[in-house]
Amino acid sequence: MIRGTVVGQVWATRKARGLEGRKLLVVAARDAEGRPTGRLVVAVDVLDAGVGEDVTVAFGSGARNVLRPGPENRDLLCDAAVAAIVEGAG
């Protein structure tokens, strides 16, 4: 999981199986100390996070579990998903 800030969105009609109708957000990743690394991660969003919001992003099987928990989710062709919208952070 990484922390980041939603900075944009991607729209695409030609998409892989399992991504139809899914919202794709662009997240500016942060390092452990919360500083932006300049790296952009595209993540599927089902929590309706908005631009400017702080989020956490899960990767790999964690990302697929965000979209549909359980072992049979290998058809979800994505490797990153917004797992939480962060209210506050210590």
């Binding site: 980041g4 969105q9 695409a12 794709l24 952009l40 290998r74």
Partner: protein, 131 residues
Amino acid sequence: MILGRVVGQVWATRRDARLGRAKLLVVRPTGIYEPAFDEIASGEIASGEIASGETAFGARHLVATDDLDAGIGDQVVVCLGAPARASAGGNDVPVDAAVMAVVDRAEIDLHALGAAGAGPGIRRKLTEAFG
């Protein structure tokens, strides 16, 4: 997943048979990628796939299979690891990256990026990429 721009194509007749006739595109990741992917590598899927690629990903490019007919100059979203193999034909296809979307429109809110603490260098680079 990784946002990038297709900048080229690779032809290779001598290839692992399981690649079949997969189209191979050279993609330049958008944003700053030095070293690339290390926090993407923090995810379990990518730890084997890309973390060890850190030394290689100072190369600022990746090669991905494509079955969405992305063209040179297109912005694309690339996925790594198991989903990439699934889209290229199955878990026994030796690929680690595949084009998952051909982008119609991508918007980056540079104000939000600035508020997120990204410096002018990053913002300039992204304005270029999204210009």
